[in-house]
Symmetry: C2
Subunit: 506 residues, 2 copies
Amino acid sequence: MAKAAKTAITPTRTENYPEWYQQVVRAADLAENSPVRGCMVIKPWGCALWENMQHVLDGMFKATGHKNAYFPLFIPKRFLEKEAEHVEGFAKECAVVTHHRLEAGPDGGLVPAGELEEPLIVRPTSEMIIGDAFSRWIESYRDLPLLINQWANVVRWEMRTRLFLRTSEFLWQEGHTAHATEEEAREHTIRMLNVYADFARDTMAMPVLTGEKTAAERFPGAVKTYCIEGMMQDRKALQAGTSHFLGQNFSKAQDIVYIDENGDRLHAWTTSWGVSTRLIGGLIMTHADDDGLVLPPRLAPVHVVIMPITFKSDEPDKIINYCHKLADDLRVQAFHGRHIEVEIDDRDMRGGEKSWSWVKKGVPVRVEVGPRDMAADSVFVARRDLSPKEKQGIPRSEFIANLTSMLEEIQQGLHDRALSFREENTHTIDSETDFRDFFTSPAGEPTPIHGGFALTHFCGDSELEKKIKDELGVTVRCIPLEGGEPGTCPFTGQPSEQRLVWAKSY
Amino acid sequence: MAKAAKTAITPTRTENYPEWYQQVVRAADLAENSPVRGCMVIKPWGCALWENMQHVLDGMFKATGHKNAYFPLFIPKRFLEKEAEHVEGFAKECAVVTHHRLEAGPDGGLVPAGELEEPLIVRPTSEMIIGDAFSRWIESYRDLPLLINQWANVVRWEMRTRLFLRTSEFLWQEGHTAHATEEEAREHTIRMLNVYADFARDTMAMPVLTGEKTAAERFPGAVKTYCIEGMMQDRKALQAGTSHFLGQNFSKAQDIVYIDENGDRLHAWTTSWGVSTRLIGGLIMTHADDDGLVLPPRLAPVHVVIMPITFKSDEPDKIINYCHKLADDLRVQAFHGRHIEVEIDDRDMRGGEKSWSWVKKGVPVRVEVGPRDMAADSVFVARRDLSPKEKQGIPRSEFIANLTSMLEEIQQGLHDRALSFREENTHTIDSETDFRDFFTSPAGEPTPIHGGFALTHFCGDSELEKKIKDELGVTVRCIPLEGGEPGTCPFTGQPSEQRLVWAKSY
């Protein structure tokens, strides 16, 4: 208990990782559970974070030629039924609209009325409704490639939910593209996978592996599914984004046809890809610590919080004015396409409590200005990536001049720390015994140790893959795109084309 | 028929206004009907327009102290039932989710399964779900005012729909605020109404009247509803945004309570306000003409389209390079917080057809560059607010230097034209006969004439108001905020406090 008192979040990561996660979300005021089963309320701090992610991603999608559009929330049941694997994958967990009004029931309360001739499904993903539009929009090869993105809410009925990581309703973007040739569609699938990897690394400071999913983990209806996978601080993997090569499965199911240069009618080749508010869960589990959220500066809704320390002063207004002037001098600066966002917190509360509230929210730089700082024309600066006790007096002008490089250093430092952590916890494993040991928590640990990433050969047997999942809770996270040397499967002794990445996962 | 050939849109506004509207939406490629009853697909050009509106409005909301959050799509039935008038207003037209999966039915197709214990309503508006959060978030007077905005999709089951103007699903923002005092909440209601009016005037170039709704047109559950009303080119009114003072109706129904400075538990005072993709319908009907859409530059997804005319040239690449250089010189300029957006259209198609495609999309400035223009270092410029035939050769440097003032002139010109139109069609009417004549279309007109805005006294009798609506299709659009002189109701001879604005409406 003595230890717990030293951190802002209890329990700590090592004490109880899942509970630590919930407490970080709560302490940073990111989101909360709602009274609607499985649906969350995204609170202002979480919403600002998502908007910053959206802004950067949207720019990346536009730079790769996509345009945004918006398609209906509802999908008629007959549309979903068009692609057999697709409906099989989503029918078990979807919200079904069956009526279009409420009317007074026999016991006074309201009951559903106006039954629909055909039930409508609240979109779990939009292949079937966007494909329908594509079948109308595409006539000739001149209409290809068609590159569309949608920002939307989707619903997948989840029985066990966790804020940001798994919720019945979530916000996402879904890209949908159609191409004249198989090669171009395959290239585009990989291009968008790389956009996600670049975003994760450069903007979220979250290193990810890119690779292909095995058949067992493929998107329902896809020919190939690719993913980005990050390692969380409990050494479990998080699938943070997927990109699907759909082949002609959906274009055949939905009649997405074009006339080529020779006048022949051909089915288009399609792709789809998406990232969601789950990214916020990944961000938390990559960077947050036992004092709460830690935000990479490129995504932080507030870069710098300035706290005037006025309780010892005869002239509190002077200090507050000094802080406002400082804020003005910072706000004119730019950092990765945004102005520096500064918040002045002059709430009437204890200084320690106030400062901790910003630690827990993950703001990259905290500044305190008291009477002596003002007299010396300096500021007292704390960085969220360092210990809360490491505060430093810096001349005001120097702080202003160096702020953007300090933010850049924080951004890079968070990335490098996460990358080192992943590298330390990634092991080449060549025997079944070592594999089992790696993923089995030692007796006496207070919280389960999830091993990490195992780079292990595999013969590709789906039955065996399922057995390993059932026994150890370990899955193939991805087949790395860069390939690797052939070898021998430690489970069967059969030949293996390359090592795969295995881990426990969210 | 000879006449129709001269315009890009047939029929023209005077020939068939409702059909003209549909054709403008189609010709500008803004949106289309989907196979899902009453739901539209917002195509890239329409989506870009909405995003530009969002961007400006979002800045205005943040400047007035609001933060964005996101709340669940679904509202449990018992929540909706908490406020009697509210549920009465929305129960007749809502999408009801009753099941959470599909399973194979007796005849092979899928049928809804997993019936919910309590039906969920797809939000028609979010007072009941946001109020629930407010009841948890608000504890003391220090938590007030609470100023929240949400960007979301909502569903109201509509039997007769029209693209943008009335659809079952639409995109909107809904502001929800809670205040400690009645006075502050009333002031905030009017503040946000004025934000809408400023946005309509300054950004959409759409002049609007602001006023209060009569009881008959009030939001279900509100104490007072205020609105902005624009006059469309068929002289009908469009309600383009509303702001509601909710009093304590919702805070009492939902237990939104705070502890004041004296330790007393008091109900908060709440407001809500919203604008939607309906604004795009208003934009079209305010500015579009018989050649298609006309976009105010502050909202245009593309400010300038450059069309290289290469078919007569031996060196087409030189012309295309010249155009790219011109685009670069324009793009570095800013116009109302955005960079100048330039599109180079070098599609291989007839020049006339190409130019008309941009006329129909409403792009403010079209530029053509042929071999002779390039030789003279000049460009051939056409403005969307002038006749398609008025094209003008301008030296390149002069065009670059004057572009932003040209855009400003177009923006202002569109506003002034719309304002003049409204003023010409707004009449002070003091007798019942004149009132009836004003709203009765003369015999022999090819399309109904809808009169315009009548400024007419009224005693306030709700029965009479309903009778006028039933007989003439005319309603009180608003009770102007600025008030007016008292007078006599021409229908009853009873006293009237001020003239009201009457019109037919969408």
